[in-house]
Amino acid sequence: MALQIKETQDSYDVIIVGSGAGGGMASKILSEAGLSVAVVEAGEDFDPAKEEDRTQLRPPWESPRRGAGTKIRPFGDFDQAIGGWEIDGEPYTRKDGTQFDWFRSRMVGGRTNHWGRISLRFGPNDFKRASIDGMGHDWPIGYEVLKPYYDKVDKLIGVFGSKEGIFNEPDGFFLPPPKPRLHELFIKRGADKAGIPMIPGRLSMLTRPINAERGVCFFCNQCNRACQAYADFSSGTCLIHPAMKKGKVDLFTYSMVRKVTTDDTGKANGVSFVSKIDRKEYKLKSRVVVLGASACESARILMNSKSKAHPDGIGADSGVLGRYLHDSTGADRMGILPELIDRDRYNEDGVGGMHMYTPWWKDNKQLDFARGYHIEYWGGMGQPAYGAGGGMDSLRKYLKDEFGNPSPNGGYGAGLKKDIRRIYGSTLGMSGRGESIPQHSNYCEIDPNVVDTYGIPVLRFHYKWTDQEIKQAKHMQDTFEEILTNAGATLLGTKPGPESNYGLAGPGRIIHEVGTTRMSNDPKSGVVNSNCQVHACKNLFIVDAGPFVSQADKNPTWTILALSWRTSDYIVEQLKQKNI
């Protein structure tokens, strides 16, 4: 990871800010159209196939903290995503005692390095929620508009799954899914008894070869460490680097964009950024600017892009810039399955994520909350690292001898080691990920009093869950108990109640935040139009999750990719027609 600024030209056809899913897809499509592209990234470049960048297949003892997380790698010392909820020198603030935690990954590929690769299409209902339940707003486009792009993304990047024919969980072009593991089969026993569907997961790891550049999954369960065989999707390995090899793409790393610059007529003519290396300000010129910095970061850039033509920042005149910020809901529960105690040891690592999941299966008309959630399942015998064997003080009571008496081993010593081995691989659990209702009153804005270490004004968040999300979390907890109990598991911990909003994760913790530059064909209710083109600045486009009108209970990445491809096609066409 060398520190360097590339000596490059200072004028391009297109500048893309951010190298995550949206920026990566735009860099590929726009460069393939023959355009010269500059990708401006706030973090560093890396390639997991290079030995010096590799964290995959490293045993825990290669880490002085045995794989435990740090502030910049909250998901473990070998996790490839650099950043986290708190980044030194890049603060954000919160308003009126409300909570929002903002997760960022400062590196090529952005948060696609962190993401669990769950690759779900939004379904027809997910674009028209207001028409169904009267809350929030419909998208100005429907599933039929994005379907051809979802199809193309499936084929380009690769996703495994199974054809199920569920209306709001559209099938795609699937590679064969991996087989369920033992804990997933036990959970399925519980789900079947409870009448809750469980189907193969839909994740973007290659279970079959799709091209000569990328390898095939060898089931090490470490996708979060970035794959040296390029068998999982991340924007760096699958989009940015291939685009740089094939087309006219220059990558600017350690470059923190301050603002989009505009001419006297208000048209974008480039960006200005601060180099993290020499802390100097640089300018780049272009005919078109594409923002893919993440929903909140792109909103921040727009708000900071003040000029004579845009006195309050670009898109502020819509009245909704930064508004309707919303994250997925989340809650979890776990149990211990007596039948899995003393289990045989074998490698069941699989892909770095769930082999089976539950899509939303209920009809909200019979429920006291709107919108649904999907359930992700976990368990099994992953590689032990820091924390393995923890919680024995409370877990050992579940070890019983043939007469039903608790483990006699007690205390410490050889008996403790024995019990850790006996229990290992017998705990399992699940996490719900659900749809929240976008609110005008949940927003980010510029904090007038705080700047980051580069002198750029920072975001201030205001976010509150409503009764809808809290009731949904309550339903999750009831469902989790039903599945675990039916599977034969003993519930661990106590059931979260109203005092903790039923275990509902705080806003921002699920890292699916969207909606800050939402799309609408009415310039007074959306920052961008249905082509993700900024109403107030026709040669400025947004390709991250900012334009989402509503975030379904599905992980946003597949929709970001499809939307970014569609937006990029539109940019090429508009340039050809000389409209921008």
């Binding site: 880490s63 990328r214 040296q228 410490y412 010593g413 080691k417």
Partner: protein, 86 residues
């Protein structure tokens, strides 16, 4: 790259390196210049790990006591060595 080539590469990259040098991975680590976790570290992380590893937190006497204690908690058994033997 097909699966076989992947595996070949993986072995060349991890286990193979140790075999070629004719010594155990631990020895390779001791000879190398890696301070802290290897692989994809930022400059800040390298500096922080180097600083932490240079610090002496426990006194010799404390360390001796802790060594005895962890081996009492995690002693050798038929399947694995004692905690400090690793």
């Amino acid at each position: 790259m097909n699966r076989r080539e992947n595996l070949k590469l993986l072995f060349a990259g991890s286990i193979g390196a140790g075999l070629l040098l004719g010594c155990e991975p631990e020895q390779v680590k001791l000879q190398g210049e890696v301070i802290g976790t290897p692989g994809g570290r930022t400059e800040e992380e390298k500096a922080r790990d180097a600083k932490l590893l240079a610090e002496k937190f426990f006194t010799e006497a404390e360390l001796k006591k802790i060594t005895t204690l962890v081996d009492l908690i995690m002693p050798a058994d038929e399947q694995s060595p004692a905690a400090t033997a690793l």
